[in-house]
């Protein structure tokens, strides 16, 4: 009673098949941080990811990108979520991407944080928790 685990959707899109990292993160968030993690599997369209995020009522969507298309994918994903009134769902990113892209995505406010290779699961979880606490819109504020 009274346990309200965070719900996180982890997703991969397009033909990007680099899923080692995201699977590790999924496992880590479950085992070390007690979160409920929904993994979409590979090769999803952004529309599918948005639909899954809505049906699962997640707090956070994490998109792993290893194709260099982060500057298109994140803005588009944000746009699709916003179009469904899901402004409250927070985006995080993972994968290998140039520093200038990371900075730009973070500074524009599109993506809360981007975790590159070598990030520890604990750090990721800590950031996710802070993000959620900071948001504090409350589950019933919808």
């Amino acid at each position: 009673m009274g346990n309200k685990p965070m719900r996180v959707l982890l997703a991969k899109t397009g033909l990007d098949s680099h899923d080692r990292g995201i699977r590790l993160v999924a496992r880590g968030l479950r085992d070390e941080c007690g979160m409920e993690v929904i993994f979409t599997g590979l090769y999803r369209s952004l529309e599918e990811i948005v639909e899954a995020a809505l049906q699962e009522d997640v707090d956070i969507v994490g998109l792993g990108v290893h194709t260099g298309r982060e500057m298109e994918l994140f803005p588009r994903l944000r746009e699709l979520l916003d179009a469904r009134d899901a402004q409250d769902i927070i985006l995080i990113g993972g994968g290998v991407m140039p520093q200038m892209h990371r900075t730009s995505l973070k500074e524009s406010g599109l993506v809360m944080e981007i975790f590159g290779p070598g990030s520890s699961v604990r750090t990721i979880a800590e950031v996710l928790r802070q993000v959620i606490t900071a948001k504090q819109t409350g589950i019933d504020a919808l």
Binding site: M1, G2, N3, K4, P5, R7, A26, R27, L29, R30, D31, E32, C33, G34, M35, E36, V37, I38, F39, T40, G41, R44, S45, E47, E48, E51, A52, L54, Q55, E56, D57, R84, D85, A86, I139, D140, L142
Partner: protein
């Protein structure tokens, strides 16, 4: 919260999923929403699917969704996966197998973690079914792993129960012994192109022949073959959904549906009473530290659990301290 109920009834996906989450989280005020939607529930055909991990339940569910969509029926799915008892976390992966319906507005798929709270899961599932029901889903599929007590409780919410067996797991007869025999309305032998399928079919059949089926429905066995043959796979799942519909018609004609609804209503009363009476008592005891004292007393053998329960009952129930819910 009532507002969420109204929006869910209008088919709003966000409101429905938020409502299910609030129910899972035991958010205050959720009851108001359930009270609001309850009069409009009871229209959907609820199908329960259970079987051991790796039996192919999600893949089967995915194809069943396709089959029902071909029949112009809308489908809601609740996929239940276990919560880790050590960390409280869960990896919910059933969705991976059902993504091809992601953009179909006639399909709503929701993953749910077991969370391990006593009796809480069955309640959350029951309430979730109500939400999918008022969203107007014609068919609701509830998928659970295994055959533990929790699963049997969940199954109380279903009209038609499917037990999925696979050859080569070595637990065929064991599984049948463990009470599955009694709860299954339809058996599916999945991956029936694998070695041992014929034997499993024979064993299941002979088990069935020994069983007593007083209500007249003898569970059929449907064999489903490899997913790598999409056409024959779809066809055999088509046979399965036909059988499911046949079972539902049988329930209606033979008035067994009333018995199942009775069972469901009874389960719902147990669950709501547990939530309204037992939960606040336990919360209260935990909050004022008495629970820990009781544990200590029992450990030191100063008191036995039964006398203790009597004391608690006296304090809360007879003096009506905690019944102001």
């Amino acid at each position: 919260m009532e507002e969420l109920g109204k929006r869910a009834m209008a088919g709003d996906v966000r409101a429905a999923s938020r409502l299910i989450r609030n129910m899972e989280d035991n958010m205050p005020g959720t009851e108001a929403a359930i009270k609001h939607i309850f009069p409009f529930t009871g229209k959907a055909h609820v199908i329960g699917i259970t079987g051991s991990p790796g039996a192919g339940k999600s893949t089967l569910t995915d194809e069943m969704i396709a089959s029902y969509r071909n029949k112009d029926k809308t489908v809601g799915v609740m996929a239940v996966d276990p919560t880790s008892p050590f960390t409280g976390g869960a990896l919910l992966g059933d969705r991976i197998r059902m993504q091809r319906h992601a953009e179909d507005t006639g399909v709503f798929v929701r993953s749910m973690a077991t969370r391990g709270a006593m009796g809480g899961l069955s309640k959350a599932v029951g309430d979730g079914i109500h939400v999918l029901d008022v969203m107007g889903k014609d068919v609701i599929i509830v998928e659970t792993v295994g055959v533990g007590q929790q699963e049997v409780e969940i199954i109380n919410h279903a009209h038609t129960i499917i037990v999925v067996l696979v050859p080569g797991m070595g637990d065929e007869v064991q599984a049948l012994k463990a009470g599955l025999m009694e709860i299954a309305d339809i058996f599916v032998i999945n991956k029936a192109d694998r070695e041992g399928a014929a034997r499993l079919h024979k064993e299941t059949l002979s088990m069935l022949q020994m069983g007593k089926f007083e209500n007249g429905w003898i569970p059929p066995i449907v064999s489903v073959e490899s997913v790598s043959e999409p056409i024959s796979f779809a066809q055999s799942v088509g046979v399965l959904t036909d059988k499911i519909d046949e079972h539902y018609q049988y329930l209606i004609k033979s008035n067994i549906l009333a018995t199942r609804s009775h069972r469901k209503a009874t389960a719902e009363i147990y669950e709501s009473l547990r939530a309204a009476i037992l939960a606040p008592i336990l919360d209260d005891l935990a909050a004022n530290g008495e629970l820990e004292l009781m544990v200590q007393k029992i450990m030191k053998r100063e008191l036995d659990p039964y006398s203790l329960a009597e004391l608690v009952a006296e304090k809360y129930l007879i003096s009506h301290d905690c019944l102001k819910v």
